[in-house]
């Protein structure tokens, strides 16, 4: 089942000039800058856009802000992976002829909170059955499955602490990473940082920032006429399974991630062993460990020993299996943990995969790269989206 394999390509990708604390940008201004830069990167203009995909801004408010009248509109909002779903939906819309130039835009004033609103009401299921128990946002709800994984598989906090350390190694190579200047950290440093919500310390948690990013997708045929190196969408998947963390059927595996990943691999006609580069949304240290298992990169319960299986290079420096020089390069921009995290980070994971596949990743460039997989959750393992990309 090849589905829509290689039918469409990402031809433009860009982020806002700056990421971090941006009190001079509103939520919509972040969208606008990212959109403008991404279409320019594609060799197009905003007037060419006829498909609009956005969630932090509603499609109606963004079409108004940019003075556009797209003929295809998608405002899917399932959390941070919404952008992976948008890639999938854009490929389908282009294949159907419903639009020719799809613009997927993210902008979020996650730090400065300018024109942002809290999701949900006190009458929603989460408002009634999560919030009253002091579930204080993502650090509490994302942490809840972790001890169950420890309990069932013997995973340890020390193993988990290797994830932020490995990811920081990439950030040190990335001048745009918010934590580049903070330098290297060890698993011990993670455990010595302030306790936020056991089993998470501060360095287990993603950053909080303002920023934006955007992608432009066209048909593979049209991509040939544009200046940039096209990045083909080989396969994609999506699913949603629940909203509240307590409703997750099994705390050691995400139904949404498994279903999403299976669809993407099947459509792309590849297996985990074929993937050269991974962007697994790291809202927290544990998050990508769950995805390594659910996507089949390691077996059930094996993510802990896998991420902690370090080696030493000739200079005696630690080589993490997912870090620079490791066998499975993952979250090479520095991830949500050390690059940037605005709230719905999926866009940044996609953009890094595009940068790597285009060979534009500078000091952190993964050599001989052909296939990249991007996967993320929506809310706390509730939804998921997967995109497999190729530069050939």
């Amino acid at each position: 089942m090849s589905g829509l394999r290689r039918r469409a390509a990402i031809v433009g990708a860009a982020e806002t000039d700056r990421l971090g604390a941006l009190p001079d940008y509103s939520r919509l201004a972040l969208h606008a800058e990212a959109a403008r830069k991404a279409v320019a990167d594609a060799g197009l203009t905003l007037r060419d856009v006829d498909g609009l995909f956005c969630t932090v801004a509603g499609p109606n408010e963004l079409s108004e802000y940019l003075n556009l009248t797209p003929r295809y509109v998608d405002g899917t909002g399932v959390g941070g992976c919404s952008y992976m779903l948008f890639v999938r939906h854009a490929v389908a819309a282009i294949a159907a002829g419903y639009c020719d130039v799809a613009l997927i835009v993210h902008g979020e004033s996650g730090k400065s909170w300018i024109d942002m609103e809290m999701a949900g009401t006190a009458a929603s299921p989460a408002g009634q059955f999560e919030a009253p128990f002091g579930a204080a946002g993502a650090p509490t709800t994302y942490a809840l499955p972790v001890l169950r994984h420890f309990h069932e598989f013997g995973t340890t906090k020390r193993q988990m602490s290797h994830v932020p350390a490995a990811t920081r190694e990439w950030a040190v190579l990335n001048p745009r990473a918010m934590m580049q200047a903070a330098g290297r950290i060890t698993p011990e440093d993670v455990e010595a940082s302030r306790l936020v919500c056991y089993p998470f310390n501060l360095l287990d948690c993603c950053l909080v920032a303002d920023g934006g990013g955007a992608l432009v997708i066209v048909s593979a045929e049209r991509a040939r006429d544009l200046p940039g190196k096209p990045v083909y969408v080989m396969g994609s998947g999506e699913a949603t399974a629940h909203r509240q963390i307590a409703m997750m059927r099994d705390f050691t595996t995400s139904d949404a991630s498994r279903i999403s990943g299976q669809q993407a691999f099947r459509e792309a006609g590849v297996a985990p062993a074929d993937i050269d580069h991974l962007m697994l949304y790291d809202a927290f240290s544990f998050t990508p460990m769950m995805f390594l298992e659910d996507l089949g990169f390691v077996g059930r319960g094996e993510s802990g020993p896998f991420v902690a299986d370090v080696s030493r290079d000739a200079q005696g420096r630690t080589i993490y299996p997912t870090g620079p020089g490791g066998r499975l390069p993952m979250n090479t921009n520095g991830g949500g943990l050390s690059y940037c995290h605005t709230g719905r980070y999926g866009m940044f994971a996609l953009i890094e995969a595009v940068e790597q596949l285009r060979g534009r990743a500078g000091a952190r460039q993964v050599p001989d790269l052909e296939l990249s997989l991007v996967h993320g959750p929506g809310r706390q393992f509730a939804a998921a989206g997967t995109v497999i990309l190729s530069n050939r």
Binding site: G127, P132, F133, G134, A136, L144, H151, F200, A246
Partner: protein, 146 residues
């Protein structure tokens, strides 16, 4: 976090009942713990819905539940939600109820919670924490201390 009534006025998040959940919150106010049961498939569910999530029938009735369960997973939160400032650190847990469904709640101990004194699989029983005149929260305490 003790079982005492939090200082008024309560600043934490309060549930706003909907038609399908009102009977649950009305019951906790009277220190009763009830669950919705489906008379078609014979299963209980949580949180309360207008259709059975197991078989999608709408043949639901409220029944008294045991209030017993075990800790399926938990966290010990040190960065409090609004209204929980004087309760840190506090346990947020997912309780697997004896009747089958799981629910989020708090596990309330007499001592400061630690990874040693809160355990996955620990038996717990329901307790009731009045927050306001209208809302009483179902929380859990270790079964041994009841």
């Amino acid at each position: 976090m003790s079982g005492a009534v939090p200082a008024a006025p309560y600043r934490g998040a309060l549930p706003k009942p909907t038609p399908e959940t009102r009977a649950f919150w009305d019951a906790t106010k009277e220190k009763r713990f009830v669950l919705p049961w489906c008379t078609s498939c014979g299963k209980a569910h949580f949180y309360p819905r207008a259709v059975c999530p197991h078989c999608h029938a709408a043949t639901l009735e409220w029944r008294a539940a045991s209030g017993r369960g075990t800790i399926y997973s938990y966290v010990i939160n040190h960065k409090p939600a609004r209204g929980f400032e004087n309760r840190v650190p506090y346990v947020i847990a997912v309780i697997e109820l004896a009747e089958g469904p799981r629910m989020m709640s708090n596990v309330v101990l007499d001592e400061t919670p630690t990874p040693e004194n809160v355990r996955i699989g620990m038996a717990v029983t329901v307790d009731f924490l009045p927050l306001t005149a209208d809302v009483t929260l179902p929380v859990f305490k270790p079964a041994a201390s009841s």
